[in-house]
């Protein structure tokens, strides 16, 4: 019985380790103000799980989403910013295409593509308001890798926005129109904000920085 318990414990540890390996890790994040912008450098690891690798190799895209939070030290959140990178393997030319809203690039091999995705040096973010000289800021980052479409991860995030189509009834023959609010989903939405989305890294924080 004791042996069985020991086996179960080891098996659970292995499972937990496997699960951790499925999510990307943020190794480092550095932010540097430059004029009205922030220049961000990010280093990631374990970015592609086997499921994501399979999706990319099938010829369908994967999306790496960077969720940034600009924080006035120590805790005041000023702004949320997002950046996404779409990875697509062109089966016919055997090349990987990387597309973000800032640039596009091509990698000749999976290893090269992975390197381009894990080490990002000059990502430019535009804060809404000009940063103030005497204050200290930090940048938080969570990275999520989503197979095929970023919309797959928006099921709860944008629920109140997108629910309209599913929950709103179309005007019928009896001249009625209305709405249905799924209370289970509402509670998940309200309570789920602190939960880590599936396939997301832990939140990482940059060292404090100031406007020079």
């Amino acid at each position: 019985m004791r042996r069985l318990k020991k086996f179960y414990f080891l098996f659970s540890l292995l499972l937990a380790a496997a699960a951790t390996a499925q999510t990307p890790r943020v190794i480092s994040i550095l932010a540097q103000p430059a004029g009205d912008s922030l220049i961000v450098s990010v280093q990631l690891a374990d970015i592609f799980s086997q499921k994501i690798v399979n999706t990319i190799r099938s010829g369908l895209p994967a999306v790496i989403r960077f969720d940034f939070r600009l924080v006035e030290a120590p805790e005041r959140e000023l702004q949320q910013m997002a950046h996404s990178l779409r990875v697509l393997y062109d089966l016919w030319s055997d090349r990987y295409r990387l597309q973000s809203n800032q640039r596009a690039s091509i990698a000749a091999s999976f290893a090269e593509m992975e390197k381009l995705c894990t080490k990002i040096d000059t990502l430019t973010l535009k804060p809404r308001r000009r940063l103030v000289l005497e204050k200290t800021y930090q940048l938080r980052l969570q990275v999520t890798v989503i197979p095929i479409s970023a919309k797959q991860d928006q099921q709860l995030r944008d629920w109140l926005e997108v629910a309209g189509a599913a929950e709103e009834s179309a005007p019928g023959e009896e001249g009625a129109a209305g709405f249905r609010l799924n209370l289970n989903r509402l509670f998940s939405f309200l309570g789920g904000k602190k939960e880590k989305p599936f396939g997301a890294s832990e939140w990482a924080v940059s060292p404090p920085f100031r406007v020079q």
């Binding site: 099938s58 369908l60 109140l160 997108v162 629910a163 005007p171 001249g175 009625a176 209305g178 799924n182």
Partner: protein, 445 residues
């Protein structure tokens, strides 16, 4: 020679058949579904998920198609989570699509509300849904209704593809108390209308069984049976005066006893709209024929047709509703006219004759101009110009005209949770200074 031809003809046939049975090959730049794997099903029949997917093995595949399918499956509410990923297939360009779901194990609760032409504003403070409880892809919901002019409970069971056929089955059971509005003191004027509204409760309980097709010609056809018991109150309350009426005109008095009615109905319908909530082109039409027996015998025919067409910067939308019902029909089963979801610029049912009508004509014409769009590309803010016209038998005794027309404008604003908020300003054609403002939900049609 004949033997040679016969042998080669047979060979040709076999070759053609083999060619036809060969799986599709991916052309350059195109992805083809090789297989669809569905993971995570514990109670749900795999066919239930397959029915909601718009692609099969051999179909071309795009990320957008997967997005649409993911949203469709999520909208069923059968699953807590739906996600798609892919694996490389047996050849270049072939894809194994993996759909991973997490089933809902517990019932869901909902809060609902809206506006109905018949019942006014209504709310369902708590409804409970047991969708897909048995894993057959059914919808089962029970809800309590509280409203402006309605109160009661409703149970609905809907099983698409019953017995794995292209036939859908629906069962409804209702216990409802409705308030019917009467205007007993009719006068050919539209002044001081609000003062003479009387309210009569009509209580009913009933069950309804319906079958409808989901493919081929069957999707244009539905039919069913209905059994109900109705008992109107023998008095009416006069609004604003706190007075009670015990004497009704004969047309109402003859139907104050309890009536058991059984009916069979058949409906022909067509829907080619590009979107049910924000149509920009296509038609929606339904012709319903109903024969009622039991304590009252009557027939009812209703045609409701809607046409949508892009025109300039907006969409021209037109609805035509025609109805005819036998003279022997009890007043609570007849037609009414006037109100926010009927003919705008008049109070609810203000153009309805005493004892309600047996012939109805209603036309609503709207020009909808989207002014702002949301992230999903749907109109967030829409301006509307409209023209309504209507007629019901007995209209001349009420307003001195055979047909009533009104004009107006309004806005539609998409708001979270509630959906589309509608604000309309409507003016009667003959009395443009007597305008009505309406605040309600959803497009009129």
């Amino acid at each position: 020679m004949t033997a040679f031809l016969r042998k080669n003809f047979a060979y040709l046939l076999v070759s053609l058949a083999a060619l036809a049975m060969q799986p599709a090959h991916a052309q350059e730049g195109q992805l083809i579904v090789e297989q669809v794997k569905i993971l995570g099903l514990r109670k749900t029949n795999e066919q239930v998920v397959q029915r909601y997917l718009s692609f099969r093995a051999g179909d071309a595949l795009t990320p957008e198609l997967i997005e649409q399918n993911q949203q469709t499956l999520q909208a069923t509410n059968f699953f807590k989570q739906v996600s798609f990923r892919a694996e490389p297939g047996s050849a270049r360009g072939k894809v194994v699509v993996v759909c991973e779901v997490t089933e809902r194990q517990w019932p869901t609760f909902e809060f609902a509300g809206g506006y109905s032409e018949l019942d006014g504003w209504y709310f369902s403070p708590l409804g409970v849904r047991f969708d897909n409880l048995l894993g057959t892809g059914h919808f089962l919901g029970l809800r309590v209704l509280i409203g402006d002019r309605v109160g009661g409970a409703n149970l609905r069971f809907y099983q698409p593809h019953i017995f794995n056929r292209n036939i859908n089955f629906q069962f409804d059971a209702d216990i409802l108390g409705r308030q019917l509005i009467h205007y007993f003191e009719q006068r050919p004027s539209i002044q001081n209308f609000d003062q003479r509204q009387s309210i009569q409760n009509v209580n009913s309980a009933g069950v309804r069984f319906s079958l409808s097709g989901s493919r081929g010609l069957g999707k244009y056809l539905s039919g069913g049976l209905q059994f109900s018991k109705t008992r109107p109150d023998t008095f009416a309350t006069v609004a604003n005066k706190k007075d009670t009426l015990y004497t009704f005109p004969n047309i109402i008095a003859k139907d104050l006893d309890k009536k058991r009615l059984s009916s069979a109905w058949l409906r022909l319908q067509a829907d080619t709209r590009d979107n049910a909530l924000f149509p920009t082109k296509g038609i929606w039409g339904a012709l319903s024929l109903e024969a009622v027996g039991g304590d009252a015998k009557f027939n009812r025919t209703i045609f409701d047709g809607r046409v949508y067409q892009k025109l300039g910067i907006g969409v021209l939308a037109w609805r035509l509703k025609l109805g005819k019902i036998s003279e022997a029909t009890p007043f609570y089963e007849r037609f009414y006219l006037g109100g926010v979801n009927s003919l705008r610029s008049f109070d609810e049912r203000r153009l309805t004759p005493v004892g309600y009508g047996t012939k109805l004509f209603l036309s609503n014409l709207e020009y909808r101009i989207p002014l702002e769009w949301d992230k999903q590309g749907k109109p967030r803010f829409t301006g509307v110009l409209f023209f309504d016209a209507g007629r019901i038998n007995g209209l001349k005794e009420i307003i001195g005209e055979d047909i009533v027309r009104s004009l107006g404008f309004g806005v539609r604003v998409k708001v979270p949770v509630l959906g589309l908020l509608r604000m309309d300003f409507a003016y009667p054609e003959k009395h443009p200074d007597d305008f009505h403002f309406y605040l309600t939900l959803g497009h009129l049609f």
